[in-house]
């Protein structure tokens, strides 16, 4: 029988705990595929968040850290000072972790231009704790702590992380991608690859925001949740490159 696809060696055989239809699994795979293609599986170091990806260290075949909630960029900054500059370091964080409790750590790691890659899973909800409002929950979107939908007058406004971080001098590359169909998964992979290449070139911090879904807490089928991201999600959080020093350098 001809083998047409295999699981990347970078991923362990552990059974993923993510809900059916969740994009975490896709993004894990993309990271693993890209690191393999770049020949960087040997010395990569991953920093996992608190949130749905808290057990992410079970799935990657490399040295891993489980960081306190929101502190992954700080942990990565400490690791960065100690290890070989050629070691790839990636933080993998959700929206509650990165954009709420870890906002200061995120912004300041970007300001320092740490030579790391941050993968930001933005599904607009706290998944692990059961569907509470996130800093990225869109106006009108329902959550267990805003059951009638987010009213910005009551609950405040959501944050556009990629746009905000792009105003800083420190980051080298910022792109928002999505995984709701094959074409976009490919684009996401290209973005993640570029992010790691920028790190390998020691150009500084690369930040990939993945617009993700949460079928369980959206109370939708996987397909409906993908469509929700494709329509409402992409409308509010437009996909695209927000910062790229490599094109700026070429100008």
């Amino acid at each position: 029988m001809k083998i047409v696809a295999t699981k990347p060696k970078m991923l362990t055989d552990a059974h993923m705990h993510y809900c059916p239809g969740c994009t975490h699994g896709i993004v894990h795979r993309l990271i693993a595929e890209v690191l393999e293609e770049l020949g960087k599986t040997d010395n990569a170091i991953g920093i996992m968040p608190v949130g749905c990806a808290v057990f992410g260290y079970n799935y990657f075949n490399c040295d891993m850290y489980q960081a306190a909630h929101g502190r992954a960029p700080s942990v990565a900054s400490g690791v960065r000072r100690v290890v070989n500059p050629d070691n790839i370091i990636f933080c993998y964080q959700g929206d509650g972790d990165l954009a709420s409790i870890g906002m200061a750590e995120t912004v300041h790691a970007c300001m320092r231009g740490e030579n790391i890659t941050v993968i930001f899973i933005n599904n607009q909800i706290y998944g692990m704790t059961g569907g509470q409002m996130a800093p990225t929950t869109m106006p009108g979107e329902k959550a267990t702590t805003c059951i009638y939908g987010r009213d910005p007058k009551v609950y405040g406004n959501p944050v556009h992380m990629s746009e905000m971080l792009a105003t800083l001098t420190g980051p080298a590359y910022i792109e928002r991608v999505a995984c709701f169909d094959v074409a976009h998964v490919r684009k996401a992979k290209a973005a993640i690859k570029k992010a790691f290449q920028i790190q390998m070139a020691k150009k500084g911090l690369s930040f990939i925001e993945v617009l993700a879904n949460c079928p369980t807490n959206y109370h939708m089928t996987p397909l409906d949740s993908m469509n929700f991201v494709k329509t409402k999600g992409c409308e509010f959080y437009p996909l695209g490159v927000y910062k790229d020093i490599t094109t700026e350098e070429n100008k």
């Binding site: 040295d63 900054s77 690791v79 750590e105 320092r112």
Partner: protein, 351 residues
């Protein structure tokens, strides 16, 4: 060679000599000389310094650097140490070595910037969440700061445990003659390759982690930690006895306050009153045995615990004395420092 060193700067240089190459901090009085010194010194020796955006971030940088196998350190003062407690708990939970300095100031809240000892409970009884302890040293002179900082990194590595060194604004700001030990040869430091997550290519994952969702797994880890603490208590407990052989009135005090007690002991003895001092050098593990042994001595009339707080260590003294003798307390707060004469008066009036 002996030189005049400011307490804070002596700690910083002693840490460098001990092989510390990574420091992560945030400004707060009265410990600023430590990050200031490290900000230029570490780059001279091939290390690195980050002025973090917060104490929370700084301690998590320590988590990262320690997890990657380095000798890493942070320092702060009381309100900043409160912010670090989350990270310290994670460091304990991930079984990592590091050194944390707390130059205590008065509290609660923002409090004041003058010396205090109100963080004894926080330092010795946990501080952050969960069942864990830091190893806590309380030096009382600049030279002892140097010697303990130098050793603290070895102790932290040996037991894979966070070590906290507590002083106060007085000790941090004062200058005394001290000698820094020779620079450690980094190649002689403990090999951490079996567990440090610094990017291995041998196919065996090193994991720095404090999450244990299975009750039995976590309980086993708690048991492991407390077995470790028993060993630490057996091997690392330190104290100084000062005129304690024939003392009738025994002061118990640590840090700068112990020095004030020493002066009071001398004054009392000049007046024919047999005073002595037990000075815990480790606050965790606590030198309960020497206190209990002293309490059993027939000649001992009472213990006087002296602290710059409303009475925190006194609880451990009472536990150690276990009702054998009266335990009294003298404390000053808010940044006020007691004078030897205050203690002489307290003993004479209570006699």
């Amino acid at each position: 060679m002996k030189k005049l060193w400011k307490g804070n700067e002596a700690i910083a240089e002693a840490a460098v000599a001990a092989g510390c190459r990574y420091f992560f901090g945030y400004p707060i009085t009265p410990q600023n000389e430590i990050p200031e010194y490290m900000s230029w010194r570490l780059f001279e020796v091939g290390g690195a310094f980050i002025q973090a955006e917060s104490e929370v971030s700084a301690i998590n940088m320590v988590y990262g650097a320690a997890g990657a196998g380095a000798r890493a350190m942070t320092s702060s003062s009381s309100p900043g140490i409160s912010l670090k407690q989350e990270g310290i708990s994670y460091i304990a939970g991930a079984d990592l070595p590091c050194v944390i300095v707390n130059m205590m100031r008065s509290g609660p809240g923002l409090g004041g910037i003058q010396p205090a000892q109100g963080d004894y409970f926080q330092a010795t009884k946990g501080g952050g969440h969960g069942d864990y302890h830091c190893i806590v040293f309380a030096p009382s002179t600049v030279q002892e700061f140097v010697d303990i900082t130098y050793r603290a990194f070895d102790v932290a590595d040996e037991y894979k445990n966070p070590v906290m060194i507590i002083g106060d604004g007085m000790l941090g700001q004062m200058m005394e003659s001290a000698e820094i030990p020779p620079m450690r040869d980094l190649s002689t430091l403990p090999n951490k390759d079996s567990w440090a997550a610094c990017g291995h290519s041998d196919g065996k994952q090193r994991l720095i982690n404090s999450i244990r969702f299975e009750a039995d797994e976590l309980e086993a880890f708690n048991d492991y930690l407390f077995k470790k603490y028993e060993k630490i208590a057996e091997k690392e407990t330190r104290y100084e006895e000062y005129y304690n052989e024939d003392a009738e009135y025994v002061f118990v005090a640590y840090g700068s306050v112990a020095r004030i007690c020493k002066a009071a002991v001398m004054e009392l003895r000049q007046e024919g009153i047999k005073a002595g001092l037990i000075r815990p050098i480790t606050l965790y593990p606590y030198p309960s045995k020497v206190i209990n042994d002293t309490a059993k001595k027939h000649g001992v009339k009472k213990f006087i615990t002296v602290e710059m707080s409303k009475g925190q260590m006194v609880e451990d003294v009472r536990l150690a004395v276990n009702g054998l003798k009266p335990v009294e307390f003298y404390g000053r707060c808010g940044g006020n420092v007691m004078m030897p004469a205050d203690l002489v008066k307290f003993v004479k009036e209570g006699k």
